[in-house]
Amino acid sequence: MSDQIKSLPRPIRQPWARIILAGPVALVVALTLLAGMPLWLPGGAAGIDNLIMPLVFAPLIWAALFFHACLDRSLVRVAVIAGLLFLVHGALIASKVMNRAPTTEKAR
């Protein structure tokens, strides 16, 4: 069995791990980036670039994550990059939500 797997092309080895990274993981990370990017991107001349850029590039962001998961020879690298992007943007979103909560309480 292991010989059969070894004889497969390298990017097709460990197919389920790759499928999970290219499928649900890429989707969740892309959504997290979509929500998190407006919090650090500059607003630009009209103050809307941070809102619009992630929306415009969302399909390409997902495609980049998908193809990275398909083509990178190291699955660990794929997981680390996806994990880092998820953690950094997730933390930004959490921080924004937690900062908003006390403000809302105060307003009440």
Binding site: L39, A46, L51
Partner: protein
């Protein structure tokens, strides 16, 4: 050129094949109806026999809007949208913004439909979701657009489905680019005097190579449109505006200014339309009036891109005195990279940035993509059918969808032309499509062979296409060519000719003595050489 290693190329071939075969049939439906929808406006004018020569915005609209204002309860005078309906008639939607039970912003109001002479033809009350459905005179073009945008699945699921199809197409386009080893050679290799096998393979390869960048652009812009309102805006609004979608819309699309709620009559709209036409070079496609009846009213006119430009034009006017304020981007209060990018997504997707020429190119490349999608799936199936006989049903399904869908679309056009004079076109256009689709499925079940099925569906489609101009003239009572050309609608005659030419091309291979050389064994040989 990107050169991948052999094993990476193999992985990309697998991704390319499976992305196509899993969603290819639905993708084919979306691309085919999208190709037709490039000319949705022209098909609408052809099918309903539009002969009004002037746009509604080239005629006085001010008095009509004031008359409608007087008929409208004050609750619905918060904002007004003005646009063309039917044969250069005026559509006016007086409305207010609301938030529904699920927290989604909606517009509720009264939608007036006037004809080209200013007569009120219909009044509909409700939310924008409820009232902007197909009408008797635009049921055919609406059907095409609705199939392309959401496959008739209710929103948001329909948009999500077409968005996923867009992503599948993006994957197929990028992986297609990565696996091409001789991209530039493939663009120009079309050996018309070679053996039928090589001719078939070359055609597939050339169509695929030329449509690769186009496929990328369409998939990218299409998935952007599908996901923008369904996922993108709610997610960004959740992160930045605490879930307030209306606040985000105001930040992105609103016209900032100091609120002035004092009552004030709206300025002369005829001055606005005349000035907008002079500045933009053509009549508006849409006019939005915010804070209607207030001193801080704002009027925005939206136009197609100017000649030689790709970004649509928007002009801002003070509502109270109808004076010009400034040109503004379609997205954002001022020029910005994000606003420009979002603004050009529409023209890039619809191909309407250079008039008929760009539309014709988009139609041609769209057709090439249909060809590539269909032949790609067919090659995949035929190659594997040799080892796995159970795939024969998939080959037949491909034929039913590949040739049955055009047959269904032509049949629904015929049904529209017959039922429009009776006022039942909204029902019969859809019913005609469903009946023709059922007939194609039955033919798929009972046809003795796949070749017979293909010939049957092609000849039925061709015959129906030849009949369309006759139905338009003699059943729907549409204008003749002279009348149409005099009214500035040469497209009516052009579409008649196009339908007859396409119909004759489809049925000609079944005339005695003219047999198509393109047969299944040839494709099988071709696949063996790939």
């Amino acid at each position: 050129m990107i050169h991948l290693k052999k094993d990476e190329t193999k992985a990309m071939v697998a991704v390319h094949g499976w992305s196509g075969i899993c969603l290819g049939l639905l993708l084919y439906a979306v691309v085919l109806t999208g190709t037709a929808a490039v000319f949705a406006h022209e098909i609408g004018a052809w099918s309903a026999g539009h002969v009004a020569t002037n746009s509604t915005f080239q005629q006085p609209i001010d008095a009509n809007v004031r008359r409608l204002e007087a008929m409208t309860p004050p609750d619905f005078r918060e904002a007004v949208s003005l646009f063309e309906v039917g044969d250069h008639g005026l559509g006016a939607f007086f409305h207010r913004d609301e938030v529904d039970a699920s927290g989604t912003p909606i517009e509720r109001g009264i939608y007036y439909q006037l004809d080209n002479s200013g007569q009120l033809r219909a009044t509909v009350r409700g939310t924008s979701e409820e009232i902007f459905g197909p009408r008797n005179d635009d049921a055919l073009s609406s059907f095409l657009v609705d199939t392309h945008v959401r496959l008739h699945v209710p929103n948001p699921w329909g948009l999500l489905l077409t968005g996923i199809l867009g992503l599948a197409m993006l994957v197929a386009a990028i992986s297609g680019l990565l696996i091409h080893r001789h991209l530039f050679k493939d663009i120009f290799t079309l050996r018309s005097r070679a053996s039928p096998v090589l001719v078939e393979r070359d055609r597939h390869s050339v169509a695929g190579t030329w449509s690769l960048p186009f496929a990328f652009v369409l998939a990218f812009t299409g998935s952007f449109f599908s996901f923008f309102g369904t996922i993108g805006v709610p997610v960004v609004a959740m992160a930045v505006f605490g879930g307030d979608v209306e606040a985000m819309s105001e930040a992105v699309f609103g016209n900032p200014g100091k609120p002035d709620p004092r009552p004030a009559s709206i300025g002369n709209l005829d001055l606005v339309t005349a000035d907008a036409i002079r500045r933009a070079g053509e009549e508006p496609t849409f006019i939005a009036i915010e804070n209607f009846g207030r001193a801080d009213a704002k009027i925005t006119t939206f136009h197609n891109p100017r000649a030689g430009d790709i970004e649509p034009v928007a002009l801002l006017y003070n509502g109270a005195d109808a004076t010009f304020v400034r040109a503004k981007p379609n997205v954002g209060a001022g020029p910005s990279a994000g606003g420009t990018l979002a603004g050009i997504m529409g023209p890039l997707h619809f191909g309407n940035f250079a008039g008929f020429l760009s539309k014709a190119i988009w139609f041609g490349l769209g057709f090439a993509m249909c060809y590539v999608t269909y032949t790609g799936m067919r090659l995949w199936v035929v190659r594997r059918k040799e080892q796995q006989r159970s795939l024969a049903w998939l080959e037949r399904t491909l034929t039913v969808v590949g040739f049955g869908l055009p047959f269904g679309l032509v049949a629904c056009a015929a049904a529209f032309l017959v039922s429009m004079p009776l006022g039942t076109a909204v029902f019969w256009t859809t019913a005609g499509f469903l009946i023709a689709s059922a007939a194609a499925i039955l033919a798929g079940l009972f046809a003795p062979s796949n070749d017979v099925l293909e010939k049957l569906l092609k000849s039925a489609t061709g015959t129906a296409m030849i009949a369309l101009p006759l139905l338009r003239l003699f059943v729907a009572g549409g204008p003749g060519w002279t009348e149409a050309i005099e009214a500035g609608q040469p497209m009516i005659a052009a579409l008649d000719l196009a339908f007859v030419a396409a119909g004759v091309w489809l049925v000609r291979s079944f005339w005695p003595g003219v047999r198509s050389k393109r047969e299944a064994p040839a494709i099988r040989e071709a696949t063996a050489t790939i």
